[in-house]
Assembly symmetry: C2
Homo-oligomer: 477 residues x 2
Amino acid sequence: MSPQTKLLHYQELAERIADLIGHGIYPQGERIPSVRQMSQQQNLSISTVLQAYGLLERQGLIEPRPQSGYYVRAHVEERLPEPETSSPQLDPSHVSLHDLVMMLMRDSANPNLAQLGAALPHLDERLIQTINRIMAKIIRQRGVDAHQYQFPPGLDALRVQIARRMVNAGCSLSPGEILITCGGTEAIDFSLHAVCRPGDIVAIESPSYFGTLQTLEAHGLRALEIPTHPRDGISLEALEFAIEHNRIHAVVVISNFNNPLGSKMPDERKKDLVDLLSKHEIPLIENDVCGELYFGEKRPVVCKAFDTKGLVILLSSFSKDISPGLRLGWVAAGRYSSEIEWLKFTLSASSPTLPQIAVAEFLEGGGYDQHLRRIRREYAHNVELMSDAVMHYFPERTRLTRPSGGFILWVQMPANVDSLELYKMALQSGITLAPGHVFSATSQFPNFIRLNAATFNYATERAIERLGGMVKDLAKV
Amino acid sequence: MSPQTKLLHYQELAERIADLIGHGIYPQGERIPSVRQMSQQQNLSISTVLQAYGLLERQGLIEPRPQSGYYVRAHVEERLPEPETSSPQLDPSHVSLHDLVMMLMRDSANPNLAQLGAALPHLDERLIQTINRIMAKIIRQRGVDAHQYQFPPGLDALRVQIARRMVNAGCSLSPGEILITCGGTEAIDFSLHAVCRPGDIVAIESPSYFGTLQTLEAHGLRALEIPTHPRDGISLEALEFAIEHNRIHAVVVISNFNNPLGSKMPDERKKDLVDLLSKHEIPLIENDVCGELYFGEKRPVVCKAFDTKGLVILLSSFSKDISPGLRLGWVAAGRYSSEIEWLKFTLSASSPTLPQIAVAEFLEGGGYDQHLRRIRREYAHNVELMSDAVMHYFPERTRLTRPSGGFILWVQMPANVDSLELYKMALQSGITLAPGHVFSATSQFPNFIRLNAATFNYATERAIERLGGMVKDLAKV
């Protein structure tokens, strides 16, 4: 047996067991078959089973008990409360987060820090091998193709694949409506550029992904922060009030697995949001970069699914669910499509070619779905572990979101804890995190932090332990 | 002998002969050694020599004469006159070229058209093989590295290589001052974004690269077109006058191998330009994307070499001299560095990772210089052939630039020939070109066209012949 085959075997076994745990076949707190039993049942070597159990243990799904065997890890039932609905002032405000955000960016490239700050995904080894194999094949077989300009709207084959996938999100997009970008960040830039002029007011969630806030700052736009419920999303009542009292040029939301809230807006509210904005002819920019990373049974729909007037600009990327280094995103911009296509050509010419060919092949071949199944389970599990750790190590009066997808957690600490102070203390201790300050134009969240749970391991738990100690200290003062 | 070795042999022989021709060892019009003689002299097979001669013939360096052998091709001495210095109105103007430029972009992706329009480089087969080999190695050896974010300012190793190369252009840049972008287009966007606000006036050359004009349009900036000499570049006298009569926020030039003029601004004038702008504290955005594609002996200096106040924003890319599909450019922005780094992070997050690692290795390994020597010779030769063809097939009263680098030609046709009409006629005949209209915000060049000579072959010559016929017809009306 080649090492490659063996590698796949133990990972597959681990996945099968994880599935059984997920479906309650092996219930929480119960013992699973011993290594010897499993080896006989599955006709696999002892060492393969040991490797699988080791993996499941690292993933936190099972735990060994001395002289007794492996048990399904019990989930802690008691919960920290969620943060409450935010209550920002309904006044538009210019954004100025420049320096703080650049500091965070620099941290994220520092290999000596525990990376709890930036929303870096886990680069799954098996996925990377697959993508690299595809790229190597393209280079070998279609050498020059990888080097041509791939002018807007981008590679046909990739746009076809994206259109097909979006059917699961309730959307019937034509490939012609989809434009490939250099990552989702560029898609946000062009979307706001297309529908706003400097000084315009953009309604956003509170808290809001700091990338959105930064883009508003770069374009001289004013942010109008709308109260947002940690699970239901942006308050439609407050938004309607804001629309009646301001000239709002665009609304930006992350409706699925919000950054930083981790929540999925209920489908009915998505429809209501689209209806409200349609009535007022206001474009909705919907960022769906984590849409495929759901923990539930089904791919959630997008607001764009309810769009009848071409007012919803839906954007996404492959940075969170495949690879950020490839720089591939996309936007389906309804009535703004030709404007955004022109901006793309004018301001960035084209997107990298080899990644487009490779990801198109990956999606065609079905490897993407397989990968997503694996990574969803992993993220769900790691978010669970991270939540447990926060619960365990952070002081009372801590509140915590309940993400239903993605890999980030939003933590509300006691009111007297300043996240910027915590950020500085944590850095001294080799930990970086995203302080709440960068998720609001008006400093709504001084005592919040965002944590990245994409890879949760022993070191992460130790970092959370140290962090919890610091928060306790700060809370006491 | 493996096929790979043999391939290199004939190409190397061809290069050696091309060198001898270049140095006049085989003078123009003279016979070169017969295939049999060369085979004996070099101890190579007849078929290798035949392949080398075939290549030299395709490159237009030698020509076969029946029953006589191969001769060094004679260069046509008589010349068409150059276009005159442009004379635009010195009034700032908003730009509106949207639709026409998008039409050109779509043409450039049409494989059924003779591509004389877009400035697509020749994707040299040997280069592509080398770059692909490097990429395949990186994928194999450093699989995950290629997939990480590579946040601004971008890959250290690549920035070090760029800094080293720029010494040849008279510049001592620190790697820390260099920021990697997704191609040169993005670098232009961020540069203008950093120094201008909507409505501001930007002084540009006349004619000007349409990408610059488009970027002005996208940012709501006003273009002030300055008279420009086809070889000496932007008129410093006119620019000074313009500065005295307008509040100019930035100046954009392509000082080396201008697009579309092909000319290199004399070094002294570069210095004078920098001095003039320093005096008025006006930033200069210098686009040097073709700086390495010189036909002369030496890498020309850049304006940035004379910058003492950090006012020159120098940008370039690897799209014209390596591969456009990789999407790699860079900018050294002096006092605007941190602003542009922030814009890069905010509006595009990062540049594609694998290309950065690959190009850094390519530059480190010395392959780039070897490639540049080859491609410079090829472009010089193709520009020559294209000039000959225009001279031969276009009507009298045609004027033509004398590029000293790059691969494009700027052609002035008789005054009554409208390039847009010609563009439409040419399309019917399977040819696309860039009409003069897109090189000015105020339609200064209705009877000009820009031609791409990067790949000149038999089909190109036939296209120029058909084009010449159309121009003659239009000139008669």
